[in-house]
Symmetry: D2
Subunit: 303 residues, 4 copies
């Protein structure tokens, strides 16, 4: 109402801001006003923040380093280890999903890290991923010299609802399937069928999934369903609780799994993951002891 | 995946819609709507784009790797070489300026790279810088093992006028001066004066430049003016023309200089740099043959 | 121009490109590049969009037009009628809530109006509100000359979850309560207690709700609970179904109510409102026939 | 540098922000956290801010109020007076340009009004324009009842260089010319040539300026060059100094002129306008005493 109470606001609001002059009093030099040109990029609160990094010109990079076709398990393991080394740094990360030369990192929706400044979150993930890729190269390619530093671009996307975030994860995993089926067939035609790449591309033009499955089975005796799950589904990182063998102790670790997120069953069994209370009720892990999991158990024991 | 399928993307980014329509034919395409949640982040045209990368917790990083105090010339040379390796990748970069654990990259104001999308420009510079820092570590620290991958954050700032951009460069260079004078005095007190860090900090509290100069001169016989220019002024990278010795030929190279940008003289003699026609009228370089410059001349000659 | 030429625009906004290509054929088209400086301001999908308009310097405006203190029912009725006239124009509006000189308009979260461009949604609501305030002034202030056109500022805020949106509505309604209790007490002290405004302000400084209730009751024999609900709770607009008397017919109308949104009961009984299917299951209205409701029933009958 | 100085930053930066909890301490209610969802929309400093308002569905509005074709001088005078009434409220406005149902307001590039918040600047101009259009309607349409409140949408655009801003102004004025020549010819064909609108549209399809000029001259004896300048060029508002007749005094007033901004001559003679010192060196006005100018002189004399 138009009264004393509001009058206070009115006065305050109409006071001309002189933030330049205020800033200058705190400045170490008269040039410091330029700092003011940095604009705010706070992300909307209470939404899931996804940072996706994506290899730049990795087709060339993979050729320059003789990656095996259609999938190089060393390259995938390196990507997963790099993502794991990023993941363990940030408590606010909920999960990460990778395939080929890309990785998506999902922050909890209540994340307040760096006041949710977009460029901070984006560059810190992106930088750590990029430097780690070089740092851990030798671990997975001990006999291959890294010819030049790779580049990953990055982007930030917000998802306001659980359904949106799940569909994002499904979208990326559907992408793995589509690409891998294509690539498996393409490289079978080239490497085993003796087609040129151009001929293989032409042969596959217009084909649907069933066609490619049939080519693989009839011509190359490959049952696509039996291909390794890391190739068909990509890799998901998330925190689960494991029973450490022979110790009777439980421990929360980052696990690398290849679950089928396109099935609703996955999301019902991981319902805790997306709720705010996710940290309290841990998910139980019963899968194989991967290198990534073993490393965490061993580190814990020796520390 | 690093293969024919992705090659198409890499070459022609604008053909993405084809890929989308492929996806749309599949049953799984119903998730693809999530791509629309990516918001536009186009930067205002006709403004200088500055991307600054900044080491995250480099105080700890420098201690963990026993950097010399107050300045470690190996670390500075590594930073400069990394920045040079980024600089040579982008024709749209005008100059770069670095000090300590930070580096600023300035794009021409008419730059249209990646349609001026903020996150693309930011992450590509940041990623290349981060991966190169690890890649070139051994070149400058042959006897020091890199203990973990470093992280750099990054930000984008726009400057609409020549005056603003010049003031930005002056701001960063003034910062070098202020920090280096402080650090030189602080570490003299600690390393030679046998004060504890806390005592040194207290001693310097409230002092102005003249006080610090006097402490250095009277107590440690150091004339601050004689300190190396790379310490006092940081390093500027920009393109200049050099006469290649004994060949009579001219060549455009990236030079690493330590000019005083706080003086107007610098900007009048480099007036071409900021105008749109900057590429046509080359700046002539008459300085020493640094390692960075020599490398370019030698590469050219052997290629 | 208000003619055939522009009619084409109005009908088919997407035909603008045609107009541009016409321009491009002209010599003058070389200026049109400036259109590209307009940056995208698309709002994140799947979030509730709130546009709030707020009177600028309405303290002075209310004095200049002798509004009654602490509440002028004519002014509140005008605000509500203006908001109603905005509300009926947009199918994508879910509800609106007003008090004093402000009104919040809530768009459905699936709203795609104007492709969710922030400035379009903001200005169209703000402009219609502002022009309507002048247009309908005489209806509520038949004997008071409007001395000058009022100004309302506006802002857009997004809310990603139902809880956030409900808390927004509660925040604004809690604000009504806080302000109205203060103002009712303040103006009692001034108008009936013969204090100067400064004395009244001082008297109320540091008091809590209970103190003000006591002042009202003991000194002025006012039971705050009996004050009109429009003063204590503001006005909420939303669509409900009414049974039209003596006709046996149902009709969906915009109702103006003063419900207590701070109570959870309100939100459970209006659960349909926030779900996507809200339009199908109508809320039933059993309240009094306000002028706003009557007008809609009468218009329907005569049309 | 990796030292004491930076250590201070490092500590500060890594301190987790708890701004929600801080805010809650200042809050009047526990719901106030929702205020935090308002995102910053500060505009880049040192750039010209253009706010353009544009009539929504004014083709219909002009028909509903029987505007004369192709131009209704009353409607244009109303638009100009409304724009003048907005202009006089803001010292930070440099100029305004209008035509048909649109008006552009240009803020000085050093403007700090409302801390350059986009939505504030946009809505305040847009609201004042909209409410004033209704308020002043009777002054220009004394015999025409305003049937409903009009709506104007609005947008904000930034221009970083003088050249960009000048090209913006030229773009809008070129638009007046193109539209007015088309409309003048179209309505001559319809009103005097007895073509139906569809026939007139067909007749003009594919014609260039010269064709339309010839139709006007040969068929309707209209020399387009002799058409009123307000129709051909739109209206520019800016501040100039006038000599008040018979008083020997000078006075700064807002003038409404129809200058040709497509000519460079205009910009050289108004060079002061775009420089920061524009306020000190006044532009001299020697044109006719328009109603808008007279009103200001008379108000001054009587005040």
């Amino acid at each position: 109402m138009y009264n004393v109470y509001l009058r206070q606001f009115c006065k305050i609001r109409t006071r001309r801001p002189t933030f330049h002059s205020v800033l200058n009093k705190m400045a170490k030099s008269s040039f410091e006003y330029v700092k003011n040109y940095e604009l705010h990029d706070t992300l909307l609160p209470n939404t899931w923040i996804v940072v996706r990094v994506d290899g730049k010109c990795f087709h060339k990079f993979s050729e320059d380093h003789n990656f095996e076709k259609p999938n190089d398990i060393r390259a995938l393991n390196l990507m997963n280890y790099v993502a794991y080394s990023v993941f363990r740094e940030f408590n606010d990360l909920l999960m990460a999903f990778g395939q080929s030369d890309e990785y998506s990192f999902v922050f909890k929706k209540q994340c307040l890290l760096y006041k949710r400044r977009a460029s901070k979150l984006l560059t810190i993930i992106n930088s750590k991923f990029s430097s780690s890729y070089v740092y851990y190269w030798d671990k997975y390619f001990p006999d291959v010299k890294l010819k030049y530093p790779p580049v990953f671009d990055g982007r930030v996307v917000l998802y306001p609802s659980e359904e949106n975030l799940i569909d994002y994860m499904k979208w990326r995993q559907a992408d793995v399937h589509i690409n891998n089926l294509y690539n498996t067939t393409f490289w079978s035609l080239v490497l085993k069928g003796n087609l040129t790449p151009a001929e293989a591309e032409k042969r596959l033009c217009g084909t649907v999934s069933a066609d490619k499955n049939e080519i693989l089975f009839k011509e190359f005796n490959i049952n696509y369903n039996n291909e390794p799950e890391i190739f068909k589904r990509g890799t998901l990182l998330l925190k689960k609780t494991v029973n450490v063998e022979n110790s009777g102790k439980c421990m929360t670790v980052i696990v690398d799994v290849h679950d089928d997120m396109l099935k609703d069953k996955f999301w019902t069994s991981h319902a805790n993951l997306l709720t705010v209370k996710s940290l309290k009720q841990n998910l139980i892990y019963n899968g194989p002891l991967t290198n990534i999991i073993s490393e965490q158990i061993n580190n814990k024991e020796t520390s």
